[in-house]
């Protein structure tokens, strides 16, 4: 299995398209950092300026490395599934398209092992992508802007997390994001198994995520009641839950707390369940697949 995984990883990282995601993420984050270095205060004032009449808002202090990492994740994690689909959607169908799949399954390895090796290779790619993102979004932002308290603006309230209470939340958030992106990879894998060309699974994954995200975020009561609870995209933003802090009876934040841990655990449960369903379905379909290409 380890050998198979190495071969699959070699195949992934040999393709130039794999590095598009790494390049895009680095470029995007660097552009945000440059913009915030130049106009961080203006950007913050655009969002929070309506509070200027009531409070003295220390924009310069808010514009720190920890907050910038949160902003990057907020802007980027919605789009990263597209980058994951670019690789995971191609992982089986790409070989079918090139005509190497028939050759591959003729080797003395089970089809289950083959699909699982491809899945774990996609998982490795996802983790590498997130590590790369963490390097730029968190480490580089800290180097450039320093650390400080994180201010998280929700639609109805604002949370402030003390500097000493932030770092573990990022580890948890990146861990959660890894699970969410692995789910996307497993969906891409399933579509890839069902298809004989690369474009279909990639575009299919992206379309499913866009449609489901729209339904999740539209706030239409009908959808909220009958569709939203069953869509995996509803739970993919769960990483943010680590940045919603609980308060005591006096309204003051409690260090080390999370406002709604059960919701985060539920989201993890839903994401893991969907992933297992997609991977199992991929294995079952691939085992019965009539490989003609």
């Amino acid at each position: 299995m380890w050998k198979l995984l190495q071969i699959e990883l070699y195949k992934i990282f040999r393709k130039p398209r794999t590095y598009i995601a790494f390049g895009a993420i680095a470029a995007f984050i660097l552009l945000i950092q440059l913009a915030l270095l130049a106009n961080g205060k203006d950007y913050l004032q655009f969002g929070l300026g309506f509070l200027d009449d009531s409070f003295e808002i220390p924009y310069d202090k808010i514009n720190n490395g920890y907050w910038i990492c949160f902003l990057v994740l907020n802007l980027l994690l919605i789009h990263v599934p597209i980058l994951v689909a670019l690789v995971a959607g191609d992982i089986v169908s790409g070989e079918a398209n090139m005509g190497t799949l028939r050759l591959l399954v003729s080797k003395p390895i089970s089809r289950t092992q083959l699909v699982l090796a491809k899945f774990f290779a996609a998982v490795t790619y996802v983790i590498a992508l997130l590590a790369w993102m963490a390097l730029f979004a968190l480490v580089l932002s800290i180097v450039l802007f320093g650390t400080g308290d994180v201010v998280v603006a929700k639609s109805m309230e604002m949370h402030q997390i003390e500097k000493v209470d932030v770092l573990w939340r990022y580890f948890a958030a990146f861990g959660f994001a890894a699970l969410a992106l692995i789910l996307v990879a497993s969906l891409s894998l399933l579509l890839s198994v069902l298809s004989d060309n690369s474009i279909g699974p990639i575009v299919g994954t992206v379309c499913i995520i866009i449609v489901c995200t729209l339904i999740s975020e539209m706030q239409i009561p009908l959808y909220d009641k009958y569709l939203r609870p069953y869509l995996f995209t509803t739970y993919m933003l769960g990483w943010k839950g680590f940045f919603y802090i609980a308060v005591d009876g006096d309204g003051q934040t409690i260090r080390g707390s999370v406002e709604n841990m059960p919701a985060i655990l539920k989201s993890i449960g839903v994401i893991v369940t969907y992933t297992l369903v997609f991977v199992t379905a991929s294995v079952m379909v691939f085992r019965k697949k009539d490989i003609l290409s």
Binding site: E56, K154, E157, M158, G238, Q252, K266
Partner: protein, 232 residues
């Protein structure tokens, strides 16, 4: 003859009010004199902010004051959302101008302490402060509560308790109540995480436009000199 009698009656009726007005003016002057002993101070303490839409930790703050009316609250280590009107915790703002009319509004009690209620009406018609009501502890000559109504910035209330620094008229604890604007950002901008299991916001909870900041002072450093730079 009738006119003379009428004049005497009027004089008898109005004299107590004039005397009272003189009394409260003297009282306000005594309070003012006490406050004016302080040319500058640096105070360290803790600030608790209680606003319906703000979830913030207790902040360690340093308050800088310099005569006549420079005041700055800073959180050296972290971020603090300091309510705009906290500058009014410097009572010099209210009293130092001297151009006001003090009216006696009777007696009352604040935290069980008997106080004289004084209303200050600014002489300047264009002043931002329209009316200040002071609840003055006559025995200690300090203000325990003040209510200020402004032309543009709503009204705010201060409640103060005194201990170690009462001789300077400086409080050990200040509760500042103020008005806030409604907080609301578009969900399309914030992308909130909501799996549906979260306790829904009580209707109108974040529309509560009253905020409260409680500052507890640990220590003051009084009249030691203060550079203007700290107020920038």
């Amino acid at each position: 003859m009738k006119k003379t009698i009428l004049a005497i009656i009027m004089l008898c009726l109005l004299t107590p009010f004039v005397l009272y007005a003189q009394d409260v003016s003297q009282l306000v002057e005594k309070v003012k004199a006490k406050i004016e002993q302080v040319k500058d101070y640096t105070a360290s303490g803790k600030m608790k902010t209680n606003v319906s839409f703000l979830k913030v930790p207790v902040a360690n703050v340093v308050i800088y004051f310099k005569k006549p009316n420079q005041l700055k609250i800073k959180n050296e280590k972290g971020i603090s959302f300091v309510p705009k009107g906290t500058v009014s915790i410097n009572l010099n703002n209210v009293l130092s101008s001297g151009s006001y009319t003090a009216l006696d509004a009777g007696v009352d009690k604040v935290a069980g302490i008997p106080v004289r209620v004084v209303k200050l009406l600014p002489s300047d018609e264009n002043a931002d402060v329209v009316l200040s009501t002071l609840y003055i502890d006559e025995a200690r000559q300090v203000i325990l509560r003040s209510r200020t109504t402004t032309r543009d910035n709503g009204s705010y209330e201060l409640e103060m308790s005194y201990a170690k620094y009462v001789s300077f008229g400086l409080p050990d604890k200040i509760i500042f109540s103020f008005n806030t604007k409604e907080y609301k950002l578009p969900k399309g901008m914030t992308f909130d995480f909501d799996d549906g299991s979260a306790v829904k916001q009580e209707a109108g909870k974040t529309k509560n436009k009253k905020g409260r900041a409680e500052i507890t002072i640990n220590s003051y450093s009084i009249n030691k000199g203060l550079a203007d730079d700290v107020f920038k």
